[in-house]
Each structure stands twice: as structure tokens, then as C-alpha cells.
């Protein structure tokens, strides 16, 4: 009984020991905050990556692709049809985009050109959720648009001088035909969806559109043939692709698959043509690795060494692994903070044992056992650990809970944006509290606190009663 009483009294009277607990507290709080924010980031990033990429992608080694995608898809359906929800053939290649930009003439950018059938592609991922135009809603987000490349008459009229004349009333019928012809020449029939970061520049907190809906862009990509020749083609921008992954938003351009096949001399422009990818969306709960392996095996039988089947995680493996490595290294480093706190406890406990030497002598004279005396200090260490990690845990969780409020306050205070949403594309700092992580952190801190008190406790326990009583 005396152990508990003394632990409790020491905790309440030795404020110096509470000082050592502050570092445990800060360590635990920091670990919880950092882990929650990193988990939040990686969760969000995975979400977005997965939103853009289909669950499983079948690619051909040859950029020019294959014509028999119907058959390939039929084979896939045959083997893993029960796990597949949707499939979409697409064509992807590198290219260049030219835009006319104000006074600067023509700007050329390298891009990743995706030929897709928008409705089919939308069924194999969150593609449709990332399509926006240039108008802000009340919530400060951009208006969503449907997955389509259609260039409406409205848009055509709005984006060419001839078109704007057509909108005027009382246009001569003869004039009207000429103007329409002119308008159709000005505004290409085929729509394109351009990456948001390709189209805008972020400046002083707002987005400036260099490419607007209706803007004409020219794409150059490789056409198939005995030699590679460039294919030029113009498109009318109908919307923007804004996934939040800067890598995609600054490179992707989506155009109609049939048009791309036609321009690359890989199709008749009417549906028959080559593709170099098949996007597969699996049913919820399907094991993607297993599914990919099965598809790979089947397709290898069909055409050996030609197809490459990858899951979305595999395709972004290095990025996801980098985040995981970062997080574990950070955890190791931060745990050193708690280890340092452990040495603080060790030092302060040694002091307390010295200070309490006579009391320890008394306890022994009154019949306290060696293990009992050891128990006092181990219990005291545990108690300090519980207080430190408990307060740290609560503090850390509160910080995570109100992290965006705190960020706002800090930004106001320093006059600088602490968390720049244009870098991360998140309107606020994402967080994810994983209960097991918290348990591990708190458990680790308790372990360190108890471990740090083992040595002083052992010293106290081993004190000789007579020498302890005589201690001055």
C-alpha cells in the first residue's frame, strides 16, 4: 500500500520531476501530430492516385498498341469476369501542346496525351469527378462538367470572332452561312480536356487561366508508320482535369480516342483502331494483385511477352514507398525525442533517489522489502509516463483536431501562409488519426519512462538501510 501512497505523493510534490515529463509530453504530442498529418496526406494522395489510375492497367510494350482489344477484353472477362466491374480501352502517348498566350506568342509544353472514350473511362475510376470548368461556385470550388468532348454551338460562338457576330440579331442569311463556315474553321470540332495546372498559373492566391474553355490548342504526337512522323491536330478546350495530383494536372491532356487513333494512323476514326492500354476497374473487395497476376497469365498465353499488367499501387510503387519510408524515418527520429526525455527522467530520478536516501532507509527499517522500494520508483516512473503521455496524447489529438484553425491563426500572426494550398492542392491540412498508431506511441513512451526509472529504482532498492539512515 505504501508504494502507491508514496508514488502519488511524490508525483504531487516533486515538481522538478514533472519538468522531465514535459519532454515526454511534447514527444508524444509531436509524434501523434506528425503521424496523423502524414497518414492524412498519404491517404489523400493514395485516394487521388487511385482516383486517376484504374485499379489494374493492361499495357502493351509497343506504344502503337494492338488492334484486337475487343478480344483481349473478352479474354479478361472470361478469366476474371466476376471480379471486373468495368473496362475501358485507352491510348496514351507523349506529345507537345502549343497554345497561343497573350503577348507571348506561342507556348509549347510537353504533355501526356490520353485518347479516351470519356464515358467508358469515367466508369473505370474517378475520372469524371475531376472535370471542371473555369467558373467558381459559392463554395470556392470549380464547377463540375460532364465527361464529354462535345464542343457545343454555344462554345463555338463564344470563342471565335465570327461566332460572336453570329450571336447578334438580324444577321443576313447569306452572311450567316459564311460566318458559320468561318467559325467552324476557327474552332476545331474535337474537344480536349486539359490538365488544370497546364492551363492556369497560380498567382497571389487566385488562378489565372491561360487556356479557357473554347481556347484552341494544338497537339503534336508521333504517328505510326515505317518511320515516326509527327501528327498535328487542333482541339477546342472544353474543360479542365483537376485531380489534385500536381504530376497529373500538369501533364495530362485528354482527347477523343477515335480521333487520336486516326491522327496516329492507327485507326479509321470510326471506332476501329489500336489502343495501348486497357483500364480495368475491379469490383469492391477484389484482390488486385491476384487479379493482375491472373490477367497477366492469360494474356501471356494469348501473346507472350507483349502485355504488361500492373495494379495502380504497383504503377506508383516508388512514390508510395517513398512516403512510407519518410514516415518511418521521421518516426524513428521523433522517438529519439522521447528517448531523450527518458534520460531526463533517469537523471532526475537519480537526484530524487539521492534526496530520498534517508526516507528509503526508514522504509527499510520499518520493514519495507527490497522489491517494495524498487516498486515505489518504478511505479513513480510509470505514473510520470502516464501523466506525460496522457497529457501529450490529449494535446496531440486536440492539435490534430484543430490543426486548420491553428494554421489559420499562425498565418494571421506571421502574415504568411503556413500551409500554402496551391502547393498541395488541399484546401485544408488533411489528417487521419490511426488508433493503433496512438496506442503504439503512448505504449512506447510508457515503456521508455519505466525503463529510464529501472536503474534509479534498482539503486534505491539496493541501498543498505544503515548507510541510508546515516546519509547526510
Amino acid at each position: 500500500m505504501y508504494k502507491y501512497l508514496l508514488c502519488w505523493r511524490y508525483l504531487r510534490t516533486r515538481y522538478i520531476a514533472l519538468a522531465s515529463v514535459v519532454s515526454v509530453m511534447l514527444g508524444v504530442a509531436t509524434l501523434i501530430v506528425v503521424n496523423s498529418v502524414m497518414a492524412g496526406f498519404s491517404e489523400k494522395m493514395r485516394d487521388r492516385l487511385h482516383g486517376v489510375l484504374a485499379d489494374v492497367v493492361v499495357g502493351s510494350w509497343d506504344l502503337n498498341g494492338f488492334y484486337d482489344h475487343e478480344e483481349v477484353m473478352a479474354r479478361i472477362k472470361q478469366v476474371v469476369g466476376d471480379q471486373v466491374e468495368a473496362m475501358a480501352p485507352t491510348m496514351e502517348t507523349v506529345g507537345f501542346m502549343e497554345i497561343k498566350a497573350g503577348g507571348q506568342g506561342t507556348i509549347t509544353r510537353s504533355v501526356q496525351v490520353h485518347g479516351i472514350r470519356p464515358l467508358e473511362r469515367a466508369k473505370t475510376g474517378d475520372f469524371a469527378e475531376f472535370l471542371v470548368n473555369d467558373k467558381l461556385t459559392d463554395k470556392g470550388e470549380y464547377e463540375r462538367i460532364p465527361p464529354s468532348f462535345e464542343v457545343s454551338q454555344e462554345l463555338k460562338k463564344l470563342s471565335s470572332p465570327a461566332g460572336s457576330l453570329l450571336m447578334e440579331e438580324a444577321v443576313d442569311p447569306a452572311m450567316k452561312a459564311i460566318l458559320e463556315e468561318q467559325m467552324n474553321e476557327d474552332v476545331p470540332d474535337f474537344g480536349a480536356i486539359v490538365g488544370f495546372a497546364l492551363s492556369t498559373s497560380h498567382f497571389e492566391g487566385s488562378d489565372h487561366f491561360m487556356i479557357k474553355p473554347g481556347s484552341r490548342i494544338r497537339l503534336t504526337f508521333a504517328a505510326a508508320g515505317s518511320k515516326i512522323t509527327p501528327a498535328y491536330d487542333s482541339y477546342t478546350t472544353v474543360g479542365f482535369f483537376k485531380s489534385g495530383m500536381s504530376e497529373y494536372d500538369s501533364t495530362h491532356v485528354y482527347i477523343p480516342l477515335e480521333r487520336m487513333q486516326y491522327m496516329r494512323n492507327l485507326g479509321d476514326g470510326k471506332g476501329h483502331g489500336a489502343v495501348n492500354q486497357i483500364q480495368i476497374k475491379a469490383k469492391p473487395g477484389a484482390d488486385l494483385d491476384e487479379l493482375a497476376a491472373k490477367v497477366q497469365l492469360t494474356l501471356d498465353r494469348m501473346r507472350p511477352q507483349y502485355f504488361r499488367v500492373q495494379t495502380w499501387e504497383h504503377m506508383q510503387g516508388s512514390l508510395l514507398a517513398a512516403v512510407a519510408v519518410e514516415q518511418s524515418i521521421l518516426n524513428i527520429l521523433l522517438f529519439f525525442i522521447i528517448a531523450v526525455a527518458g534520460f531526463g527522467i533517469l537523471a532526475i530520478f537519480f537526484m530524487i533517489v539521492v534526496e530520498k536516501t534517508r526516507d528509503i532507509g526508514i522504509l527499510k527499517a520499518l520493514g519495507a522489502s527490497t522489491s517494495g522500494v524498487r516498486g515505489i520508483f518504478l511505479g513513480y516512473g510509470l505514473l510520470l509516463g502516464i501523466v506525460g503521455s496522457g497529457v501529450g496524447m490529449i494535446g496531440g489529438l486536440l492539435f490534430v483536431r484543430y490543426i486548420n484553425v491553428i494554421e489559420g491563426g499562425l498565418s494571421k500572426l506571421t502574415g504568411r501562409k503556413v500551409f500554402d494550398d496551391s502547393i498541395y492542392y488541399f484546401s485544408e491540412i488533411p489528417t487521419l488519426v490511426q488508433p493503433w498508431t496512438v496506442v503504439w506511441i503512448v505504449g512506447g513512451a510508457l515503456f521508455i519512462a519505466v525503463t529510464a526509472s529501472v536503474w534509479p529504482a534498482q539503486r534505491a532498492a539496493k541501498l543498505h538501510p544503515v548507510r541510508a539512515l546515516r546519509f547526510e
Binding site: M1, Y2, Y4, L5, L6, R9, Y10, T13, R358, D359, G361, I362, L363, K364, A365, L366, G367, A368, S369, T370, G372, H464, P465, V466, L469
Partner: protein
């Protein structure tokens, strides 16, 4: 009268660096039940060491200690702790109360050490009543919840005496109980010990410097250079 506590050929030496300093060189002693024995001697004569050996705070290099004719200096650590807790009560020159605990809690300490958490809460009322009763007996009924730093020297020693009696020991070992007090207070402490000795039939051994204090014991034992030199019936 029966022999309550006895020592036979006790040797004990301490090491100061490499030199061995002998403190006790063959002490034989018998204390009868209910006797109050004063141990006197100059500084360094081994008075305190003798008390420590008798109270099992330390072990002898040679020799034996007997309690009711049973050898106790070689018992297991567990039994030694139990004997210190239940059979012996200690009083020290510097009181040695724990500063974090109230007078009542200090007095209860032998019980707190003996009882488990569960046992304490089961018997809490009885144990607290016993400690409070002892504090009243030593004249500190009004100081139960005071911390040691709120008590005077005399009060501290009274509280320490109450602690030594808590849990009902048979033998009280007092190491200069009046050594840190003025003559008047020292006398009152001695009278308290004397009364308790008679009232409860306690066997008491008391180390002291003060011949006036020693003179009030049943018997005086003088230690000279680690040996018992003189037996003198004090009241003779």
C-alpha cells in the same frame, strides 16, 4: 523474567578505504522482557552499530542475535523484513519522518508497509483509528493532519515514537531519542518512553549520551571500544 533479546559474541567492523575499522569486538548482552536498558559510551564506541545488529538493520561479521531464544540474525530477507516490521520499533535521533506524509500517515507506515492495497482499504478505519489513538497517547491528538515541517522537534519525536509503537511491536530500539532535543523536552520524551514501557510491557533499548537520561533506565550498559565493559544497576 525471561530473556527477550540476546546477543552472543557480536563482531562488526567497517571498511574505510583499505583499512578495516573494528567497531564491535565480541559483545554479549541479554535483555529481559519488559526491561528498559540504556546503552552509553563515547562516540564511535559502537552503540548505534549494536542497535542496528540487534534490530536486524545490519548483519554481524560474527556472533549471533537471539529473539526469545531463537536465532534471528541469519533468517531470510523476507523474514527479516517481517521482524523489522512487526517485532521491532525504531526511534531515531533525527526523527526521520517522511516529509510528504501527514503525522497520521507517518505513524501508520508500519501498517501501510504490511498491508496490501486491498487489505488497507478493508481495514482502513481500524488502522487509522489505531494510529490516531497512538498520536493522542503521545500528546499529538490535535496534530493528526500536520506535515512534519509544521511540527516542533519534540512533537516530531513524539510522532516518531507513535510510529515505533504502531503495529504492536514487542521491542523498541531508540537511537539517541533525546539527542537532538533540549533538556526539558528530552526529559519529557524519556518519561513518555518510560510510561509506555511500563504500560505496555515493552522491552526497550535506548542509546544515549546523557548520563541523566541513562540514569532513569532499569539498567545501564557501557560500551568501551566495542566491548561491554560495565554493568550497573541504575537504580541501585
Amino acid at each position: 523474567m525471561s530473556i527477550h533479546l540476546a546477543a552472543e559474541g557480536l563482531f562488526k567492523s567497517y571498511h574505510k578505504g583499505r583499512t578495516e575499522v573494528p567497531v564491535l569486538r565480541g559483545v554479549d548482552l541479554e535483555v529481559e522482557r519488559g526491561e528498559l536498558v540504556a546503552v552509553i559510551g563515547s562516540s564511535g564506541s559502537g552503540k548505534s552499530t549494536l542497535m542496528h545488529l540487534l534490530g536486524l538493520l545490519d548483519g554481524p561479521d560474527a556472533g549471533q542475535v537471539f529473539l526469545d531464544g531463537r536465532r534471528i540474525d541469519n533468517v531470510s530477507e523476507r523474514n527479516r523484513d517481517a521482524l523489522r516490521n512487526q517485532t521491532f520499533g525504531f526511534i531515531f535521533q533525527f526523527y526521520h519522518l517522511m516529509p510528504e506524509l501527514s503525522a497520521l500517515e507517518n505513524v501508520m507506515m508500519p501498517h501501510l508497509i504490511r498491508q496490501s492495497l486491498f487489505g488497507y482499504f478493508k481495514n482502513r478505519t481500524r488502522l487509522r483509528a489505531e494510529a490516531a489513538h497512538l498520536l493522542k497517547r503521545v500528546g499529538l491528538g490535535h496534530r493528526l493532519d500536520h506535515k512534519p515541517n509544521e511540527l516542533s522537534g519534540g512533537e516530531l519525536q513524539r510522532a516518531a515514537i507513535a510510529r515505533a509503537l504502531c503495529g504492536g511491536p514487542d521491542i523498541v530500539l531508540a537511537d539517541e531519542p533525546t539527542g537532538n532535543l533540549d533538556a526539558e523536552t528530552g526529559q519529557s520524551i524519556l518519561e513518555l518512553l518510560r510510561d509506555l514501557n511500563r504500560e505496555r510491557g515493552l522491552t526497550m533499548m535506548m542509546v544515549t549520551h546523557d548520563p541523566l537520561i541513562a540514569a532513569q533506565a532499569d539498567r545501564i550498559v557501557r560500551l568501551v571500544e566495542g566491548r561491554i565493559e560495565e554493568w550497573s544497576p541504575a537504580l541501585a
